[in-house]
Symmetry: none
Subunit: 208 residues, 4 copies
Amino acid sequence: MSPKKIDKAARERQILDAAAAVFARRGFRAATMDEVAAAAGVAKGTLYLSYSSKEDLFFALFAAFADEAMAAPPALPAGTAPDQVIGLLVEIGTRLDRDSLLVPLTLEFWSAAGVEATRARFADRYAAMLDAFRGALVGILRGGEARGEVRRGLPLDAIVSSLLATIDGLIVQAWVDRDLSIAETLRAALPPLLDGIRPAGSAAPPPR
Amino acid sequence: MSPKKIDKAARERQILDAAAAVFARRGFRAATMDEVAAAAGVAKGTLYLSYSSKEDLFFALFAAFADEAMAAPPALPAGTAPDQVIGLLVEIGTRLDRDSLLVPLTLEFWSAAGVEATRARFADRYAAMLDAFRGALVGILRGGEARGEVRRGLPLDAIVSSLLATIDGLIVQAWVDRDLSIAETLRAALPPLLDGIRPAGSAAPPPR
Amino acid sequence: MSPKKIDKAARERQILDAAAAVFARRGFRAATMDEVAAAAGVAKGTLYLSYSSKEDLFFALFAAFADEAMAAPPALPAGTAPDQVIGLLVEIGTRLDRDSLLVPLTLEFWSAAGVEATRARFADRYAAMLDAFRGALVGILRGGEARGEVRRGLPLDAIVSSLLATIDGLIVQAWVDRDLSIAETLRAALPPLLDGIRPAGSAAPPPR
Amino acid sequence: MSPKKIDKAARERQILDAAAAVFARRGFRAATMDEVAAAAGVAKGTLYLSYSSKEDLFFALFAAFADEAMAAPPALPAGTAPDQVIGLLVEIGTRLDRDSLLVPLTLEFWSAAGVEATRARFADRYAAMLDAFRGALVGILRGGEARGEVRRGLPLDAIVSSLLATIDGLIVQAWVDRDLSIAETLRAALPPLLDGIRPAGSAAPPPR
DNA sequence: CATGAATGAGGTTTCATTCAT
DNA sequence: AATGAATGAAACCTCATTCAT
């Protein structure tokens, strides 16, 4: 709240933005602190005032993205529970399509989660984020189940895991095939698939 | 038939196996050629007789995995087209569950495909593999469409892309949540979802 | 005037001096950056702050010697044009006799100019230095020609090239025969040879 | 004399020819035994049957050139002693102009003579060659002195050293300035300079 | 606080030499 | 004799981190 505090926050935002661009383009290991400092417009030593190591900076960047994703969830669209799920996933896809840094950074975050040296921190944080999303979607579908919008007795946990997985998988596909739009693919594929969890005879109307 | 040929191939297999283990554990960048050489039981220089650089070795490993995946496709299970698709995807999931190196290596391959320095080769190769799988699955579903096992007019390309993406996404989830079984998740989630592409009134019988 | 400027220059001089000693003793290729760093009393990485590669450092050293040779030409001695030429060449020889590093370094510079990898830069720079010396000496002799101190119609370019070549060749001889003094040899041999370009009947008085 | 002997000699000639080309282009240190073997059309191990190390091979090459230069001296031209000296030097220059490998190889030989690791062998061998040439030329001039073709009392040793040095220096100039012909330069410059050692009133007639 | 020069451990790659075939 | 696969010691260069200013 003091002016110092504000400056500090601004400085950190500035550094994180630069780090996002550099890590996205070069990867965590290939990126150098020199490049980050240059992109942020500060001296190399300054990076160490806020982050105690390169890995720390990368983790802070990851955490910032995760916080943002969980702090600003898309508004819940209207409609039946399956429609709401479709709407939410398409909205996430839209964000991914729009922010060109998000996709390569996500690949780097995954790599960090897969690699011995960084695995613990990154995997735990990522699992927490996944759980939050999973819980939210399962809650929506359970509500729909109660209202008769979703068939009873379905393995909702597995279904939600798979739907979230679909987005992650499309991130990879979008990266190797620059023409593929995550949101468009989801908008086309999800309605028929989610028809499968609606009660018989209640297929959604054709989109738009 | 010449002994040289056999030796050379055996030597390369030996190195690739060692590389798989090391790259899986440490990641491409963090892994050192010393570690790979030690794991393979050869001198460092020997690695360079077969592979002209560390990146070359890593790409060869990637290509070997991709070749293997495409060369030994699971046998096509019996049943309607949606059942066949489910069977194939579950089989792939089973393989991923079984081979503990496959998952972290896949994350590294993706990272290589995302990062400037290595992007071109890896992304192209990965896209080719995806295309092959996509083509095979779309073919199955089109056949089902012709036989009335699949509703007409569905966006089969988008659906197949999403289903393949689901597997990739589950790779990530399986890695951060070691209790999650890819095959189990698919076995539970796919049948209801694929009910959505069957003609009305032909939902699959409950699994098993 | 800024302290930085002074430090930087001093640091580079310190490194160049060390490099001169190491390259002279071991040759460009056999010398290691470790040796240079140790001789300069700095860490290896410090060398790369000022010079981007070993070759760069070696070229900087060469350029520094060339600059020095051209920036501090010996004072033009008194006498007729041939006497002036003799005086200049003997002075150069004296410098070569005095600075024990100059001779082996020169051999290394020539080698660098002869070898594919480094040829372009070194040969061009060396040619420029030669041209400057050649121009200066030809100018002196042409002046002497106008004043009647030099016979008319002589191939002054070829003569000057040969005289400069004599110094270079004596560098080699001095190196394999440590007793040979470049300056003494020139002081003895040049007067009779240059008598050959004086007008008939004007031979120089015996030296000293 | 046995067929083995002949084969061996041919094999060594083949290797030396290849080594000359490779060392001339790449320099002694940068050249690799692989390159030499490839150029010679033999396996790398074969090189070690005749030469115990890379340096040994290089020295053998040097020795072969030196032997050749001393074993096949140019025929002594007719004329006065100074004319004979001019003729000999121009002939050496002609050979240097003709054989494009001679010049860069000479620079490499000098470098080897200047560098700690190889100095002893190369410098001694080179000094011996120089002495032989020096002795031959001094002998010619002394003969001329006796016949009155050369002024008495001149420092013939220094003069001959300088004349030999001129050739060596022109090797360097020819290398950095590809248009310069050693023989042409000598043919133009030597006659006036050597006029300086003739008795007064006996200048050579204009060349040709 | 901010800087950026200095450090030096660490990594990739090369290549002379050996030796089993 | 001839081969060429294997070796492993070096060597160049990078870059995360520190710290005096």
